[in-house]
Symmetry: C2
Subunit: 352 residues, 2 copies
């Protein structure tokens, strides 16, 4: 049933208060259509790099075409970042919402879930936000540059096994190439039958590109913001720093399972006016990568609060919501978590 | 002024016929909002590949995190294809519209133009089509696989110079790294000042992946169609073959500047029921890559017509529309060309 119809029925009926409280103010309802003003994309940041001294080769670009002599030397645009937007006819949020993915992944993180449900992109469009989804430098539609000539190292490729443990679908030793033999956490919210489908979203990553990635995010903020930013995992590092670099532009930062923080010595007083929310899933215990990340992030939140800022935590297991993975925007209860994030944004005065 | 308002005024005014003929039936008007039912994405095709025998390495994933020992060996999903959809609340087209990009590029081709105007994605949404945009295997959000272990060759990177000539922005010898010194065709429709911005859309490509690319397109057709497909450049090869592979699923094929055709010996009678439209821009003369492609495509169209099929040509220069580049969906008159394509689809009975 559409939201409008519920409100119409409410206006004439006794069950009104119940129907309205069952759903947080401003939260969307699946199935409603959304009026959009514009869809598009653009590239920000980057620079021209020159490659010299490589040999020419003859190649055939398409079957049956005459061979082309390719001179691989010349100029290339590198280190740019792709961002796609969907803008609403009548946004209910004060600012556009930017979604920044994690390491080894792309903006696809925020679209549909691997088992085919609507993702956070559609949730926040329905909730009234203009939504911008970017692919970090080197990943997805942003493209990547020749190595070792421009990018200085080789990329790394995440195995299906590594994702299973690191993303906390199940214990690391519960991985098996055979889906029938895998051992997920008994209470996992991740759509385990779609795990292989999820790993199709993986893209190679470099560990030597943090500077250009950061520069492109800063350029995006300068172009699009004021805005609200939701980051995931590795995106935490870039999001926390983007807020420090442009505290006037970023009106709030929601860090979902951030894997890192700004460098030691960063001045938390700069972001006194930028409310932060950190969201944690389940099953972090005993995994040093995550317990370390969490300790660091908690310390950073403490420093923000010491300066008088807002640095809240949505600790899902502590609230009785068990079994969320690192990819909680894909978990079975992804919409319920988005609704809590949406409620927090409302409390921070970010909706009209 | 919104289209509805024009029609309302028309109903009561004398200038009605003029207002209605100034815009083809069913063609969209910039500025109108569009009601969408759903936005999302999915991956099709691909397989699990195994890598063995590589050494382990220690890496730091994010600044300050404890080092992780990475074992690069294991299973990977490879050769999958990403597709994103925007579905309308009330489509006016009978079938969804699939947009397939060209070589060394991604689905971004169809979004905004490099100078920031709305692209064909938004045009065809406004015209009433559900629109699916994919990134071919190896490109964009589809990701790419380790080489030479899985992909058997190295990728090639398109220089800014090569694109200038091959995409017919200007003569090949009119290229200069300094934008002020470049010599475009005097009548070019390409937004020349945004050429560097356009080259940010380039991604590496392989010349050894045609088979998995084709398999993934075939899988997309099986999942999403019946449909209409618009292809560009290298996408011509995959689109022509996809129609041969699933003539019951592809209801029409529009090939924009296709760079190749099916292999010699392909049976054109299979696609007797699939209307084809080929769109050509300007300045192909004297460039063997393009004159060869055009001759081959024209011959293929002839064979389709011999079997009783429809294989039309929209030859823009022959119609007095001069200066279009290979990237004509980005040219200054991109919407006017889209409108002609839209009109052809209407003539083929593809609208409701």
């Amino acid at each position: 049933m559409g939201r409008k119809l519920i409100l119409m029925l409410c206006a004439a009926a006794v069950g009104c208060a119940i129907a309205r409280t069952a759903r947080a103010e401003g939260s969307p309802e699946a199935g409603d259509s959304v009026a959009i003003r514009d869809v598009g994309s653009f590239y920000v940041g980057g620079r021209v790099a020159t490659v010299e001294g490589l040999p020419r080769t003859d190649i055939t670009l398409v079957p049956g075409a005459p061979p082309l002599t390719i001179d691989p030397n010349g100029q290339f645009e590198v280190e740019q970042m792709y961002a796609q937007y969907i803008r609403l006819a009548e946004p209910k949020a004060k600012y556009p919402l930017l979604l920044w993915h994690g390491g080894g992944l792309t903006g696809a993180t925020w679209e549909s879930t691997p088992d085919g449900r609507s993702g956070w992109q559609m949730f926040f469009l329905r909730a009234g936000h203009d939504v911008y989804i970017s692919d970090a430098v080197e990943r997805g539609r942003s493209g990547w540059a020749r190595f070792p000539q421009i990018f200085t190292s080789e990329p790394i490729f995440r195995t299906m096994r590594e994702g299973w443990g690191l993303f906390r679908i199940g214990p690391a030793d519960g991985w098996d190439p055979d889906p029938a033999k895998r051992r997920p956490f008994p209470d996992t919210q991740f759509p385990v039958a779609a795990y292989d489908q999820f790993t199709k979203e993986s893209v190679p990553r470099w560990t030597t590109t943090d500077k250009p990635v950061m520069a492109a995010y800063d350029a995006l903020v300068q172009k699009v913001c004021p805005c609200v930013v939701i980051v995931h995992s590795q995106g935490g590092y870039f999001g926390f720093n983007a807020a420090l670099n442009a505290p006037d532009k970023i009106k709030a930062l929601i860090a979902v399972e951030p894997s890192s923080t700004p460098e030691a010595g960063a001045d938390a007083s700069r972001i006194r006016g930028v409310p932060h929310l950190v969201v944690w899933g389940d099953h972090q215990q005993g995994i040093p990568f995550w317990t370390n990340a969490r300790n660091k992030v908690t310390a950073w939140q403490g420093r923000i609060r010491e300066t008088g800022g807002v640095a809240d935590t949505l600790d899902l297991p502590a609230q009785g919501i068990r079994g969320n993975s690192h990819m909680l925007m894909m978990d079975a209860n992804s919409d319920a978590i988005a609704e809590r994030v949406q409620r927090w944004m409302g409390e921070q005065g970010l909706m009209r």
